[in-house]
């Protein structure tokens, strides 16, 4: 302790000395780096650095430069979550296929399907056995993943999409058990736990070889290449235009619209007819200019809606709103305020939301606030995996933002 105090003072003196030198010889090169680590640990005037230093009163770190501080055991365990194929890092706990089925339905099925078969372009987690040598192999946890540790590790750290690290270890065990079940790798009464984890056979565990390009490819393609008359004839065998899957180049137009929209001159001239514009900045402007025409709803508070737009980032991974919004993981949120719960066509809601809607519940300030604060409490069984907005001010702001798309 006294040693580090000395170092600090020493460092301070050294800095002062350097400054003096700088003042005296301002036109000379005095930027040479201090070579002693002791000098380099000084300079903890930054409050952020002080906080880090304060968090660690006990262990000392010498190192080469003496930079950084010793990581505390609780910090290491908070971040060091990876699990190795031999089970290193696996937490204790357990989960059954049956529990997993329910959890999977609530948290995972919206993208991966009730039977882990995948929805749209989202990953399929089951099926595909014996297809790896086929023309179009289906790579799933069952058919392709070599280690069960990878599945547990990934679900635990990165799922559900948009609400990662929200599952308990037991829930992860259960979901992994259900994924195994959906691949016919375990029976329906199976319970996965830290003891039987390594006993599960993964069908493709022997399906991988270490990169062999150095032997299999490099010798073939390291010969002096032919320069002239390398082949007798050249025929076109395939054309991209036939498939025609190149996306349209609409982005440039969108950007041009945004440039127009953010230009004060063009906003004033276009605000009355700018409903087709997609630029985020125009949304609020448009609302303000049209609010006087809206009879059934109160004017939108543009500033609050702006704050809500920032909060809405949390929702964006699943919900679209605004021009051209479509159903994605969650339903689109255009014209949300005033409509019945669970009523967007083409979206598969939980039974709870549909029932609430058909029994007359409508999205308004009150119902939205209750739902957004604690979705699962307000609508038990909702598929929305989001945990809820903790701050009341965030709830109010995001509702205001959504109201701006509800007229």
């Amino acid at each position: 302790m006294s040693k580090s105090l000395n170092l600090y003072i020493g460092g301070g003196l050294a800095t002062a000395a350097l400054l003096t030198v700088a003042a005296n010889f301002a036109d000379r090169n005095i930027s040479e780096m201090p070579s002693q680590p002791a000098v380099m640990t000084a300079g903890m005037s930054n409050p952020d650095t002080l906080f880090i230093a304060a968090a660690n009163a006990a262990p000392e770190h010498v190192g080469v430069f003496g930079l950084g501080r010793v990581a505390l055991p609780e910090e290491v365990s908070a971040w060091d979550l990876d699990i190795s194929p031999d089970g290193t890092g696996l937490p204790s706990g357990q989960g059954s296929v049956l529990d997993g089925e329910e959890l999977f339905s609530s948290y995972c099925a919206v993208c991966h399907g009730e039977f882990a078969e995948g929805v749209g372009n989202w990953p399929k987690l089951s099926g595909g056995e014996d297809t790896l040598a086929d023309d179009d192999p289906l790579k799933t946890v069952g058919s392709y993943w070599p280690y069960l540790s990878t599945t547990f590790d990934y679900v635990r750290r990165s799922m559900p999409f948009g609400n990662a690290q929200s599952l308990t270890d037991d829930e992860v065990y259960a979901i992994v058990a259900y994924i195994l079940y959906s691949n016919y790798l375990v029976d329906e009464d199976f319970v996965l736990n830290s003891d039987n984890f390594l006993d599960v056979d993964m069908p493709n565990s022997d399906g991988f070889i270490v990169d062999d390009r150095a032997e299999a490819e490099y010798p073939i393609w390291s010969l002096e290449p032919c320069m002239s008359d390398c082949k007798e004839s050249v025929e076109i065998t395939m054309r991209a235009a036939v498939l025609d899957v190149t996306p349209e180049e609409t982005r440039a137009r969108q950007i041009q619209n945004m440039i127009d929209a953010t230009n004060p001159n063009s906003v004033s001239s276009s605000s009355s007819s700018s409903s087709s514009r997609t630029g985020q900045t125009t949304v609020v402007t448009t609302v303000v200019s049209t609010s006087s025409n809206a009879e059934e709803t109160a004017p939108v508070d543009a500033e609050l809606a702006g704050t809500g737009e920032k909060v809405f980032k949390k929702c964006k991974s699943c919900h679209q709103v605004g021009d051209g919004a479509k159903n994605r993981t969650g339903p689109h949120l255009n014209a949300l305020v005033g409509r019945s719960l669970g009523s967007v066509e083409g979206f598969k809601y939980s039974k709870t939301l549909t029932d609430m809607g058909t029994s007359g519940t409508v999205w308004n300030d009150e119902t939205l606030a209750a739902f957004l604060a604690n979705p699962k409490a307000y609508a038990k069984g909702t598929k929305m995996s989001f945990a809820g907005l903790r701050k009341e001010s965030d709830v109010t702001a995001v509702i205001e933002y959504l109201r701006s798309f509800s007229r």
């Binding site: 930079l67 290491v76 971040w79 372009n121 946890v141 991988f208 073939i220 991974s317």
Partner: protein
């Protein structure tokens, strides 16, 4: 006409005749009408009024006339744009450095926003002292600057089965090339001390990001101690959010997925973690159903960026600059050949500068185009002597079911109209 113009020789008379025939349509700069070019003969607004002051744009974007030079994505490719990729507009860029604002992005859980003061980097595992660094700590280590390319392993992956996408941006745009400033990973590892790791030969470094995808990859210790960089700046300024602000890992020559963004943890281990990204993804299934893993290096590759489907020839026959990019994850580009006839005959292109290790090279072939169809190809050769293979050669070894590491020779069919199309040839 410059002396450096090579290629099929056309007499000056023929060239002038050709130019005249398209001149009217092409609105060449010299299309002098009887009254002269009004852009010259009449006083233009910009020659009379005033432009923007220096306080107008504190940080500038490209002028609006370049608004089509942007990243683009392919919506059908992924389930959701948040876990997706977009493409660098390589067809419209020149030189070698990719501006950050249009350098491709690939996220697994979206581009997160993290302040420097909220940034922490942990190093743990088989080290003498597990450490935590703040951003301010990191920038106090001795720094290095290097130019490296970063290519997604899936670049050109959609072209395995056949010619699909019409544009160099879409077929080859999962690449960027930037100058990085940062601290060598070796320095960070040595700060924590590697005595506890014992024999370093069979040790690994597991690196992970701070975003919700927790993208993590295992890197052999040999590479970690060789040339990896813990980078905080690119092209002279802070990294962009989409590239991992404030800190990302740079793994020269190796697939982009390993260049962990928002780098938060470095763990020294005695075996690879076998994470999702190194087992279920970024592995290469061969014809017999077995899959290669740990295919880290990006093999030598090149593409003609112009002319190409998004960058057609608009000027008719005559002098034509054929240009493109070449790179190799195993060294420096030594030579690039260009074929105008689908690989029958090859011409050595001119490298704009001698190749640098694991950095993109720009090549040019200046020709006198006679206005007939071309089947344009380029072929990179790196300093290991590796020659970029054809698609047929690659398929012969790997089959049709690979996704990643497609470094085949690309063919553009340039028609007499100047338009180009992505094709495959025999």
């Amino acid at each position: 006409m410059s002396d450096s113009v090579k290629g099929p020789t056309t007499s000056r008379r023929q060239f002038l005749a050709g130019a005249a025939s398209v001149g009217a349509g092409a609105l060449a700069a010299g299309s002098a009408k009887a009254a002269g070019d009004p852009l010259i003969t009449e006083v233009q607004d910009w020659a009379s009024g005033l432009g923007d002051g220096v306080d107008e744009v504190p940080y500038g974007l490209p002028i609006e006339f370049e608004s089509d030079v942007v990243r683009r994505n392919v919506p059908w490719l992924t389930a959701d744009p948040i876990s997706s990729i977009n493409f660098t507009p390589i067809h419209a860029l020149d030189g070698t450095i990719t501006p950050q604002g249009c350098a491709f992005e690939r996220h697994h859980s979206g581009a997160i926003e993290m302040r420097k003061q909220d940034y922490r980097l942990m190093i743990n595992g088989l080290v003498d002292t597990p450490l935590v660094f703040s951003y301010d700590d990191l920038v106090r280590f001795p720094r290095e600057n290097h130019v490296y390319f970063c290519e997604c392993a899936a670049n050109t992956g959609m072209e395995w089965a056949g010619a699909q996408l019409n544009g160099a941006q879409f077929t080859h745009g999962m690449i960027h090339n930037m100058e990085y400033s940062g601290v060598s990973l070796r320095t960070i590892l040595q700060e924590a001390g590697l005595d506890a790791a014992g024999d370093l030969k069979d040790k690994w470094v597991y690196v992970e990001g701070a975003d919700a995808s927790s993208n993590g990859r295992s890197i052999p210790m040999e590479k970690a101690l060789d040339d990896c960089l813990v980078a905080f700046a690119a092209n002279g300024e802070a990294l962009r959010k989409e590239h991992g602000y404030p800190v990302r890992l740079v793994v020269p020559g190796w697939e982009g997925n390993m260049w962990i963004k928002w780098l938060r943890r470095i763990e020294v281990t005695d075996a690879p973690v076998e994470s999702r990204e190194e087992t279920s993804k970024y592995t290469d299934t061969q014809e017999d159903g077995t899959s290669r893993k740990w295919t880290w290096e990006m093999d030598a590759k090149s593409v003609v960026t112009s002319p190409s489907p998004q960058s057609p020839i608009k000027h008719g026959p005559g002098p034509l600059v054929i240009t493109g990019l070449a790179w190799s994850g195993r060294g420096a580009i030594k030579r690039v050949d260009v074929s105008l006839d689908g690989g029958k005959n090859w011409h050595e292109a001119r490298l704009a500068a001698p190749g640098d290790k694991m950095a993109v090279s720009r090549f040019y072939l200046d020709i006198n185009w006679d206005g007939t169809d071309m089947l344009l190809q380029s072929r990179a050769i790196d300093d290991t002597g590796y020659v970029q293979p054809t698609k047929t050669q690659l398929r012969h070894v790997r089959g049709l079911n690979s996704i990643y590491h497609n470094n085949c020779i690309q063919t553009w069919w340039v028609k007499s109209s100047g338009e180009a199309e992505n094709v495959e040839v025999s």
